[in-house]
């Protein structure tokens, strides 16, 4: 895909956010600013500690939906590049889940595009999440906040 396109990947294995950012940054020397967001599995102490988190996807819809979101994001802001990486499978505390980066000539477009893409990934992308704690696996329902965040746009 050319530099002007969006790079969208759905991964079943771990990835290195630092390496991804180095590659993305090197590919966009024309950008005056790059904004990135990294989501990782939260470490929580005590009885509610999450031992593992699993994200399930649906092959027929998840990646196509992420690609449509990337296209909508690029259409809305003047970007030099956009990167969206999302994991599926079993993850543990500290593992990266999602990385979004937006490169733009000016910083406001980059901030807004990354924020927009994240709000829609959280509330609209085709992922189902379950967590394992001491009491077993539990499916996670979307939070009302996620829908409020999407409604900002």
């Amino acid at each position: 895909m050319p530099d002007s396109g969006a790079a969208v990947r759905l991964l079943g294995e771990g990835f290195s956010p630092a390496e991804e950012m180095a590659t993305f940054t090197a590919a966009h020397p024309e950008a005056g600013g790059i904004v990135s967001f990294l989501g990782q599995v939260r470490a929580e102490p005590g009885a509610h500690a999450v031992e593992a988190l699993e994200l399930k996807h649906y092959a027929a819809m998840t990646l196509p939906g992420m690609e449509a979101l990337a296209a909508a994001t690029r259409k809305r802001w003047a970007l030099d590049g956009l990167l969206i990486i999302h994991r599926y499978g079993v993850m543990r505390a500290g593992d990266p889940i999602v990385l979004v980066a937006a490169a733009a000539r000016h910083r406001r477009d980059a901030f807004a595009a990354a924020d927009f893409a994240m709000d829609h990934l959280k509330s609209q992308s085709w992922f189902w999440k379950r967590e394992k704690t001491a009491s077993g696996w539990r499916w996670i329902e979307p939070r009302p906040d996620d829908h409020r965040d999407r409604a900002r746009w």
Binding site: G39, L55, K56, Y58, A60, M61, P64, H86, I97, V98, M118, L121, K122, S123, Q124, S125, W126, F127, W128, K129, R130, W139, I140, E141, P142, R143, D146
Partner: protein, 83 residues
């Protein structure tokens, strides 16, 4: 296993646990006939108001009549929780 002549149901998220499987091969036909042949407890969950359906990867509207043809894939999608 040959699936010729069949359609497929796909259960996502917690529906996979309730169904005890991720996919089920079914005889093509109207959805109500297919659901009537399932465990009633599962059928009730599949018809929950927060569960959306997608036919071959495309979301369906709320009141669309669904008739599965051979090779069709009908997915049941509970509310998502990504990121």
């Amino acid at each position: 296993m040959s699936t010729s002549g069949l359609a497929k149901l796909v259960f996502l998220g917690r529906l996979e646990d309730i169904a005890g499987m991720g996919e089920l091969a079914v005889t093509p036909g109207p959805l109500e006939h297919i659901l009537a042949a399932l465990d009633p407890a599962l059928a009730v969950e599949l018809l929950g108001e927060r569960v959306r359906m997608a036919l071959n990867g495309a979301l369906l509207g709320d009141n669309e009549a669904v008739v599965l043809a051979e090779g069709d894939e009908l997915a049941f999608l509970p509310p998502v929780s990504g990121g």
